[in-house]
């Protein structure tokens, strides 16, 4: 227990009205009444102070998101890790809920005061349970869709009469969720990491025909305008467009007053009602005119629905229509949301269309403003804008402006989910690495955002490695390699080939201070590549296939650091697992290896290499044999092996050459 506050306040008999009659208690000097001016209290909500304090906390590039534990063992360093760590935590929460629900009789103690509803087990309903109308209303209130459906069925079985209000609210619940249990509200991580099924199911009818919602709709008598509006909106949301449009037409014919959201949902699905672009446009115009006739004033939803339909209409005039609609709504004073701008971008910046700079105009309009979520598609804006920056305009400055706008105020809340966030950063990073000077990119962006905000996907990593290859900034290679291990990208052939190629082609410059130890480090990295993949191949059912080229390159890098033990391990692999290795190594790697053997005086290992070369069938293997014979003083056994692999002629040629040499020497003497 902690003593929070000991408040001492003095009560003024001047200011407290309830105590005004106390005035005469107190002895006051009446001759000089001084005026006391007490300033007014500044109004604030319970969380205002906390928000103000949280504003003072900046961004820490070394720390993981605060949902993870701040401990080296528990900080995720790959996309898979981020996902599984966060979801594991939430899964624990879920299983706790499951246990609580399963053994609800054990969790009936009510210690909390006031009781916290969310921590108590909810009521369970079965086919046999006795239910009342209040059960139905609480289920509706808490959005327990399946419970509500069950309770409603039970009530109907018991012939309990329900009021139309209750039926209406149940219908609204069922239409909103399409008779399916929604994801619980406190499952933040699951919502963040869930693969967006909505996107996949776009344009597909998911409305459950003849389910409880529709039955309920037919049951409600007399039907109010809300009932019609509810079923129309539900059907439009889940793309049961035909039925919805039929009901809508009936309502219009019978002069039933529909609300603006109902018109919006019909406007949203115009593309399913009519086939061609012109017909769609005319239907939209008709709908808008009807709205005017009926005295329904449009809102932001109307604007977004129109723009959405226009963007997917496929008309040549779509851009003109969109501008028309925007100006029209601007004139009646409706502030567009980010979703409106998303639809505009979608309309103007088509993949195969002409280049449009509409994003610049949009940014001029909205930069420096803070946005709130006002439409479900508001979250699509940033990812689309960055996509336009990279793929449509290829404009780095514009991308930076979009990023600044994203980080303005509370705008980051509109980034959407993990998927959108990673696409956003993928585009941003690719653009940065291609257009920004490499050193600046590493210092200002890579070191700050990787790995805690964003983890480059293999494609982005490839771009970064290519930039390293072009700029020759090889002192970044050790960092990038360790990140590749962390991000679990070491089984990518193209990345491995690229990094090995960079290490081979760029010899460290010993005069530069940052590259002094790089030769050793490269050799370590090469050995690391070897051992990590071998380790993986032992464990994994689907092993990475070695290519001879890659192995040869690794061998070459290791040879530069003169580490004969490690080099010979790789040589043995080349020799023994020839069937499993794709292709053959470069001959130059063999030469390097033999040279290393000569300096380390290991004739048998050099002869092993010769064996490999003859088995592969290099044309140059004779030269190699010569090098071996010259480099070592071979004993009988070794000579026999060389002869076996390279042929008798080699020895004779060497002897001849030696004779010639000595003859030449004699001549010069």
């Amino acid at each position: 227990m902690q003593h929070l506050r000991r408040s001492v306040s003095s009560i003024s008999y001047l200011n407290r009205s309830s105590l005004s009659r106390c005035t005469r208690f107190f002895a006051t000097s009446t001759e000089l009444e001084e005026k006391v001016e007490i300033p007014n209290y500044i109004q604030r909500s319970p969380t205002t102070i906390l928000r103000a304090l949280s504003q003072t906390v900046g961004f820490d590039p070394t720390a993981a998101h605060y949902k993870y534990h701040d401990d080296p063992y528990l900080i995720p360093l790959s996309n898979v890790g981020k996902r599984s760590f966060a979801l594991a935590m939430e899964s624990g929460r879920k299983s706790a809920k499951f246990i609580r629900q399963q053994h609800s009789n054990l969790f009936q103690h009510r210690e909390a005061d006031p009781p916290i509803e969310a921590f108590l087990p909810t009521k369970m309903y079965t086919i046999d349970s006795q239910v009342e109308i209040s059960d139905l209303t609480t289920s509706i209130e808490h959005s327990h869709v399946s419970d509500a459906i069950l309770v409603y069925a039970l009530l109907k079985k018991n012939n309990v009469e329900l009021t139309n209000d209750v039926k209406q609210s149940l219908l609204e619940l069922l239409c909103f969720y399409n008779c399916e249990e929604p994801l619980e509200e406190d499952m933040i991580e699951e919502r963040w990491f869930r693969q967006n099924q909505r996107l996949k199911e776009r344009n597909r009818k998911t409305w459950k025909d003849n389910d409880t919602a529709e039955q309920l709709y037919y049951e409600i008598e007399p039907k109010t305008p809300q009932t019609y509006a509810c079923i129309i909106r539900g059907m439009c949301k889940y793309y049961q467009v035909e039925k919805a449009y039929a009901i809508f037409q009936d309502c219009l014919a019978n002069n039933i007053k529909l609300d603006v959201d109902c018109f919006n949902s019909i406007l949203n699905v115009v593309r399913f009602i009519k086939e061609s672009a012109d017909l769609r446009w005319s239907v939209m115009l008709d709908l808008l005119k009807t709205m005017k006739e009926k005295g329904v004033s449009p809102n932001l939803g109307t604007l977004n629905a129109c723009l959405n339909s226009i963007s997917e209409m496929g008309s040549k005039n779509a851009k003109d229509y969109a501008i028309q609609i925007m100006t029209e709504f601007k004139n009646i004073g409706i502030e567009p949301s980010l979703a409106s701008y998303y639809h505009i971008l979608h309309t103007f910046c088509k993949d195969r269309g002409p280049v449009s700079h509409v994003l610049v105009d949009i940014l001029n309009e909205i930069e420096g403003k803070e946005f709130e979520m006002r439409d479900i598609k508001d979250t699509m804006f940033f990812v689309t804008a960055m996509d336009v920056c990279r793929n449509h305009l290829y404009d780095l400055n514009l991308a930076k402006r979009v990023d600044a706008f994203l980080h303005f105020g509370e705008n980051y809340n509109l980034i959407g989910d993990s998927y959108k966030e990673s696409i956003y950063y993928r585009n941003y990073f690719t653009l940065l690495v291609q257009a920004e000077p490499f050193d600046k990119f590493m210092a200002d962006y890579y070191h700050i955002l990787v790995p805690h905000v964003y983890i480059p996907e293999p494609s982005v990593m490839e771009e970064i490695l290519k930039a390293v290859e072009v700029t020759g900034a090889i002192d970044n290679i050790p960092l990038l390699w360790s990140h590749m291990i962390c991000f679990e990208q070491i089984s990518r052939d193209n990345l491995l080939a690229l990094i090995v190629r960079i290490m081979l082609q760029n010899k460290p410059d010993l005069t530069i201070k940052t590259q002094e130890n790089l030769k050793e480090t490269f050799s370590h990295i090469a050995w690391d590549i070897w051992s990590k993949i071998e380790e993986k191949n032992e464990l994994r059912s689907k092993p990475v296939v070695w290519t001879g080229k890659l192995l040869g390159d690794i061998l070459r890098i290791i040879c530069t650091s003169e580490d004969i033990d490690r080099a010979s391990v790789i040589m043995e692999k080349l020799l023994n697992d020839q069937q499993k290795i794709l292709g053959e190594s470069d001959y130059i790697a063999m030469e390097d290896y033999v040279q290393l053997c000569i300096t380390k005086k290991q004739p048998s290992k050099a002869i092993q290499c010769l064996q490999y070369c003859t088995e592969i069938g290099f044309n140059e293997s004779k030269n190699l044999a010569k090098t071996i014979c010259k480099g070592f003083t071979l004993d009988e056994n070794h000579t026999r092996r060389v002869v076996r692999y390279a042929g008798e002629s080699v020895i004779q040629e060497i002897e001849k050459e030696m004779q010639e040499e000595s003859a030449a020497k004699n001549v010069t003497q």
């Binding site: 000991r6 001492v8 107190f26 006391v36 604030r44 003072t56 070394t62 401990d71």
Partner: protein, 322 residues
């Protein structure tokens, strides 16, 4: 003796358990064989053994993050709130723990001593300055006309004291928070001598003579507001009650007096008589005020050297003997 008995009693027990185990084992094995579905092992894989040999690889642990921290970083962003010490996040070579003489104090890694003590890493001076700056928008200027303590006392004579509590429990209530104390100076109340006397008698020990303060503590109601109202009610009732004069109050005798009043006592009669002895006419000479106060002091405060000397001086002066 005891040991022997214990051992003897244990042996048959052990034998019995051994025997039971032995007799049951073959049966158990048989049932397992009956239940198991026999697998035709064509490829000669040693399924279970292979799995056992696969030892879990220790995870790749990144270096502690304090190694990546910039020298000029914003510490408030790294350690924004109160939390237990963590060696990987704090870039300080701190040491803690008791060791014998001439041994090194343990470092920060795996040091439970550092985790036990509360740290104030989240409240460094720059952070406090920043937070104060952020909270300024909610502050109002100090009220005008209340700068000195006298002014405050004059305009706000009644002090109201209560406590709020926060604890790590499911409940947010604390019964102690209902207690309300009000304090005020007695001199702030408009009371005549009678009323003051009566007020003091009514309030009893709640009056502090040294500071001239009245303290009323109320805790009988369940809520703070109720207790506050009750305290204010008590104050009002006390005030008005002390100002009423009951009929029976006039029948107060000398024996009921709680202090010596010269005017009601024999001293007045005697001294007046002495002073007027042999004087003609009705005009009487009253003893001087100095004498009266000396007598009252002597009787109320008791006899001490100072009071007796004063008394002597005043008598000598009054009688003109000097």
């Amino acid at each position: 003796m005891l040991k022997k008995i214990n051992l003897n009693s244990l042996i048959p027990l052990a034998q019995r358990t051994c025997f039971r185990n032995y007799s049951q084992e073959p049966a158990a094995v048989e049932t397992v064989h009956d239940d198991d579905f026999r697998v035709l092992n064509l490829r000669k894989t040693k399924g279970t053994q292979q799995q056992l040999s696969r030892r879990p690889k220790p995870p790749d642990v990144p270096p502690p993050r304090y190694k990546q921290m910039a020298v000029d970083q914003d510490w408030g962003a790294v350690w924004p709130g109160p939390k237990t010490f963590h060696p990987a996040s704090v870039p300080l070579p701190v040491r803690q723990g008791w060791v014998p003489l001439n041994k090194t104090v343990p470092g920060k890694f795996a040091n439970a001593e550092l985790m036990k003590i509360p740290n104030f890493l989240h409240l460094t001076p720059p952070v406090i300055a920043k937070q104060c700056e952020a909270l300024k928008q909610f502050c109002t200027p100090f009220p005008k006309g209340l700068e000195t303590e006298e002014q405050q006392e004059k305009h706000f004579p009644v002090q109201f004291i209560s406590s709020d509590y926060v604890h790590g429990l499911p409940t947010i209530r604390n019964p102690l928070s209902r207690i309300v104390t009000i304090k005020l100076k007695l001199s702030q109340l408009k009371l005549d001598e009678h009323a003051r006397d009566k007020f003091l008698r009514l309030i009893g020990e709640r009056y502090n003579e040294e500071t001239d303060e009245i303290t009323i503590v109320t805790d009988r109601c369940p809520l703070k507001q109720q207790n506050f109202d009750y305290a204010m009610y008590l104050l009002t009732a006390l005030y008005h009650e002390s100002r009423t004069v009951e009929e029976w109050e006039s029948s107060k005798q000398e024996g009921d007096m709680e202090y010596y009043n010269w005017h009601n006592n024999q001293s007045k009669v005697t001294s007046t008589e002495v002073l007027n002895w042999g004087l003609p006419g009705d005009s009487k000479v009253e003893p001087p005020q100095e004498y009266i106060s000396c007598v009252e002091n002597l009787m109320n405060e008791g006899e001490n050297e100072y009071n007796i000397n004063k008394y002597k001086e005043s008598v000598v002066k009054m009688l003109g003997l000097a």
